[in-house]
Structure formats: structure tokens, C-alpha cells
């Protein structure tokens, strides 16, 4: 874990794809923070349809860290994760409470 964090903040010896991943990680952390602040500061309720704002960044973070660590092999897994949860949350967002 310490290595991952150290690697994340160091600017040396980074492959181009690592830079992209780092930016995406930052973006998702930012989204997570914004969503948390928003939900605590407003009357918005966390329900099935809105849960994507939290689920998706968390899944994305997991996927991105995974790609970063297991560069070659991890990308398929990460893509699968993001697609699976993204589509799931999208369906919930649009169709809940009667999905089909």
C-alpha cells in the first residue's frame, strides 16, 4: 500500500498510461469528495438511483489501481468491473423501481 501511494505521488519514471491512470484516480477521488459533501450539505437522499455517484467512483478507483498494479492483465478485469457496475447503476438510475 505504501509503495502504491509513494509511486502515485512520485513524478519520475512514469509511463504515459500511468499518468492517465493517475489523473483518473484523482478525478474519481474528487467526485467522491464532491458527492459526499453534496449529500451531507443538501437534502439529497441516497437512494438506489443516486447510489451511482458513490458506487461508480469507488469501483473506478479499485479498477484503476488494479490496472496500475497489474498493468497488462489488469486492464481486462478493470474494464469488466467498470462496465458491469456502470451498466448496473445506469439501469437502476433509469428504470428503478421497475427494471424490466
Amino acid at each position: 500500500m505504501r509503495e502504491i501511494i509513494k509511486k502515485f505521488f512520485s513524478k519520475e519514471n512514469k509511463e504515459p498510461f500511468e499518468r492517465i491512470i493517475d489523473r483518473l484516480i484523482l478525478l474519481n477521488v474528487l467526485i467522491l469528495i464532491i458527492a459526499s459533501i453534496y449529500i451531507s450539505a443538501t437534502d439529497a437522499r441516497l437512494n438506489v438511483r443516486n447510489s451511482g455517484a458513490f458506487v461508480m467512483p469507488i469501483i473506478s478507483l479499485a479498477a484503476l489501481v488494479y490496472v496500475r498494479e497489474y498493468a497488462d492483465e489488469g486492464r481486462n478485469t478493470a474494464m469488466a468491473m467498470v462496465l458491469f457496475f456502470g451498466i448496473r447503476e445506469l439501469i437502476l438510475l433509469i428504470f428503478y423501481p421497475r427494471p424490466f
Partner: protein, 483 residues
């Protein structure tokens, strides 16, 4: 056949075999100790297996690395490979490339399952959380297999409960097994009394219900045909003390539902139910058709449960209707059904229901050709559940003596299509010419199925996260391929 490699020499052997004939692996189990290094491997190679080149070894080791089995350190000339952990892979009829795919798919699946377990239930986020525990008491043993009609009735009840189970948890119990301890755990009790039979409502049942009533102001609903309700109240009603106001009686005003007089040929629905439940007895030849249109309704905030049921058969329209209260003499008072029921269920304020722009009042006569057009909006008070009443429009059908099943009652609009759109739907059923509305106005209250609201900000954040990550991963993938 299973082969286990426990030292580098055997692993090298395996790798060599792969190098020669990559498609002839039949079944292998690889086991590597943690910490096996390239040096060890190379040492073994140079000592015993000279045919395998250094590059070939690196190639296969890098395959294993990509499969996530081992870890590489350093740059290529001095790269060291370390087994990450004890590895045990079972391979069957697969080449090394297949292994990689297998490994990646497996790890993807494992991760997805793991994450799905971490974020499993949509109900965690649901705004409509179960608020009530309602006990439905059937005045028969639940396993009463001798009465196919009753079994079918239970099926319908079960289906409806599952379908409607948004705000309330329902539990089904037989009056035979009902005890005060069981009844006390629920916020409301519904006693269903199809052919209420003294045999199945012993003193324990009565006492359980009385205990339940005495415990608090929680509600109880009695449902059944008039005879059953009266019979029950004769024994039960007088003992209720001052708790009558907590009891709502939903009763029919016609013949008993399960009467043998109402028969019809087995229809498709009944056949289907029969097959699903694997009845061991002979299939019933006749069902009371009225079960087909049974509906179970909603609970309101206070925990009292409004239930209405409708039944239709070939010869007549049978309806349960809500009745305001039980009078001291244990008879059912039927006056002002409609408004009182609304008032009890939904609160004090309600809107207009009109026939051709004139108000419908209890006792009003509906005439042939009348157009019912009503839309009722309750004043929404903060803190109370949002209520939107809708009455569908339609033309009253004419009455022609012996009515056919579908013409007996005119169903206005499509109830199925409306369930998700309004909090509460009131459907007025009108039998036909010459009948008074007090007899035939039938109230159905559907549960709150208003979808949870979408918050635009949170939805946007989700979309941004999803699309950005997906696009980013695609770019990363390309970058890697180019590299």
C-alpha cells in the same frame, strides 16, 4: 492425471514441455513455492536442461507473470522472477494463452463477486424502506390441501403480497398456530376469513387477537364475507372493549366467496398455478373465478392496513368494501363507505369525484351513458405521505339482464399501467344501470410506488465517473498495446 511441481526443476520441465508442444497440455497442477527466483531456475536449466534457452525461459516466465502468478523485478538482462505466493492451478486441455485468459476471467469474476458482496443490496439505498410488519392470519391451516380453492386463494395472496411488498413486510400465519406472543410482534394484523370456521378459530386465536389489540393502538383488519365477519364478531367483537376503533372490517355484502354456488370451468391461470405447485391431489375441476382479481392493498403511515379485494364471476359482481366501524351490537355499519374509508385511510382532505361534472355522493345513482371523470388531489401536507388520487374515466356500461363476465363490471382504464405512476389510485367500478353507487363504488388503494427521485447532481457525478473511467481505460489499453 494431476502433476504437482514443488521445485524449480520440475517447473522448468513443465515450461520446456510447453515450449515444445504448447497445445498438448492435458491436465496439470502447478505449485510453486514462494520465493523461487530466476537464478535458481537458470541454475537448474544450465545444469540439466540445456535445450531450453534463456530467452525461452524468460518468455514463459513472462507469460506466467502476465497471468499474475509470479512477480518480475529488474530490467530484462537481470530480471528476477519471484513466485508471489503458493500457486496451484488446474489446467485442463488448455494452452498457456488459455491459462492466461482463464486466470484473468477468474480474477475478474472473483473481483466482481467480491464487490457485489460489498455493495450488494439495492435496498440499502432504498428510500422506501419497510416500515411495518403485518401479520396476515388465515382462518385455516396453511397446508390445507383438501381445499384446492383455498390453496389457490393462498397463491393469489402470496403473489399479491410479493408484488405489493414495498412498504410493508407481510407474514402469513394460520389462525391455528396464532398465539398472543406471535401477534404481539406485528404492527398490524389482518384476519382473513374465507369461510371462517369455528374449527380453526379456537380460543387461543381469539385471545391472541385480543391481546394484540390490547397492547397498543395498532390496527387490525378483518376481511371476509358478511356472514363470516358477523360470525367472527359475534364471538370476538363483544370482547374488544374500547378497541373497536382500531379494527377495520373489510367485508363483502354479497354471498360468501368460497361458496360452491359460484363455479366455472378451469381456466388457463388456474391450470398454470396448478402445475407450478405440483399438487398431489387430482386437479380441481372448478374454481371460484373471483380469486383471479384478488388484490391486496397498501398500508398507510399509521400502520393500519387498508385492504380491498374485488371479485368477479359469471353471474355477479362481488366486492369487498371498507366499512367505517363496528358498532357495539357487532353488526357492520355500511354508511358513507366511500368518504369514511378515504378519511380513515388517507386523512381528512380529499378532492372531488364527479360524474359529468356533478359530484358523486354516497347513494347517488349512476345512469347508463354516464361518463365518470374524476381526478382527486389531496392537499399535500409536509410530513405526510404525498398522495395523489386518480380515478379513471370511462363510460358506464349498460345493464342487460344476464351480464357476461367482463361486462358485469366495467373497468375503467388500465390499472396495471397506472400502478407505478400514482401513489394512490382509486378505481371506481360501476356495475351498471339502475344501481346505487353506495353499493357498487369500490375503492382500491395501491401502494406507494412512486420511483425514488433522481438527484441531477449525483446522477451527473455518476455519469462523469463512469464515462471518464471507461474512456480512460480504453486509452490506457491502446497505450499499452502500442508500447
Amino acid at each position: 492425471m494431476s502433476v504437482r511441481f514443488t521445485d524449480p526443476r520440475e517447473l522448468i520441465n513443465f515450461l520446456e514441455m510447453i515450449a515444445k508442444e504448447p497445445r498438448r497440455i492435458v491436465l496439470k497442477t502447478i505449485s510453486m513455492r514462494p520465493g523461487i527466483t530466476t537464478d535458481e531456475l537458470l541454475h537448474v536449466v544450465s545444469a540439466s536442461y540445456r535445450r531450453i534457452t534463456r530467452n525461452a525461459l524468460y518468455y514463459h516466465l513472462s507469460l506466467l507473470e502476465r497471468a499474475g502468478l509470479i512477480r518480475a523485478e529488474g530490467s530484462k538482462p537481470r530480471r528476477r522472477f519471484l513466485a508471489k505466493k503458493s500457486i496451484c492451478l488446474v489446467l485442463e486441455g488448455r494452452t498457456i494463452k488459455d491459462i492466461m485468459i482463464l486466470v484473468s476471467v477468474r480474477s475478474a469474476l472473483a473481483l466482481i463477486i467480491l464487490l457485489a458482496l460489498i455493495f450488494p443490496s439495492t435496498s440499502v439505498y432504498s428510500t422506501v424502506e419497510p416500515k411495518h410488519e403485518v401479520l396476515i392470519v388465515i382462518s385455516r391451516p396453511l397446508n390445507d390441501l383438501y381445499d384446492q380453492g383455498f390453496r389457490y386463494f393462498l397463491h393469489r395472496l402470496n403473489d399479491t403480497i410479493h408484488e405489493m411488498n414495498y412498504t410493508t413486510n407481510f407474514r402469513l400465519a394460520s389462525s391455528v398456530e396464532l398465539t398472543p406472543a406471535i401477534a404481539a410482534n406485528y404492527s398490524a394484523v389482518i384476519v382473513f376469513m374465507p369461510n371462517f370456521n369455528a374449527r380453526y378459530s379456537n380460543e387461543t386465536t381469539i385471545n391472541a387477537l385480543l391481546t394484540y389489540l390490547e397492547l397498543s393502538d395498532r390496527g387490525m383488519i378483518l376481511i371476509g364475507n358478511t356472514d363470516d365477519v358477523n360470525r367472527f364478531l359475534y364471538r370476538f367483537g363483544r370482547k374488544m372493549g374500547g378497541k373497536q376503533e382500531n379494527v377495520t372490517v373489510v367485508s363483502s355484502f354479497t354471498e360468501p366467496i368460497l361458496s360452491e354456488n359460484y363455479t366455472f370451468e378451469l381456466n388457463e391461470t388456474a391450470t398454470m398455478v396448478h402445475e407450478e405447485t405440483n399438487y398431489t391431489t387430482t386437479p380441481p375441476r372448478r374454481y371460484p373465478k373471483d380469486y383471479d382479481t384478488f388484490e391486496l392493498m397498501r398500508t398507510n403511515e399509521s400502520g393500519s392496513v387498508a385492504i380491498a379485494a374485488e371479485t368477479v364471476d359469471n353471474s355477479r359482481f362481488i366486492a369487498f368494501t371498507a366499512v367505517q366501524a363496528i358498532e357495539d351490537d357487532s353488526t357492520v355499519r355500511r354508511g358513507s363507505i366511500f368518504k369514511d374509508f378515504l378519511r380513515r385511510t388517507l386523512g381528512e382532505s380529499y378532492g372531488k369525484i364527479s360524474v359529468k361534472s356533478r359530484d358523486i355522493r354516497t347513494g347517488d345513482e349512476i345512469k347508463e351513458g354516464d361518463v365518470i371523470e374524476a381526478r382527486v388531489n389531496l392537499n399535500h401536507t409536509p410530513g405526510k405521505p404525498e398522495v395523489y388520487l386518480e380515478v379513471y374515466r370511462g363510460t358506464v356500461m349498460s345493464y342487460k339482464g344476464e351480464m357476461e363476465a367482463k361486462n358485469d363490471t366495467y373497468y375503467v382504464g388500465s390499472r396495471t399501467a397506472s400502478k407505478g405512476q400514482a401513489d394512490v389510485v382509486i378505481v371506481i367500478h360501476v356495475r351498471g344501470y339502475g344501481y346505487r353507487t353506495s353499493d357498487y363504488v369500490h375503492v382500491i388503494v395501491y401502494p406507494n410506488r412512486k420511483p425514488a427521485p433522481i438527484d441531477p447532481v449525483l446522477a451527473s457525478l455518476f455519469i462523469v465517473s463512469f464515462i471518464a473511467t471507461l474512456v480512460g481505460l480504453i486509452i490506457v489499453r491502446r497505450e499499452m498495446e502500442h508500447a
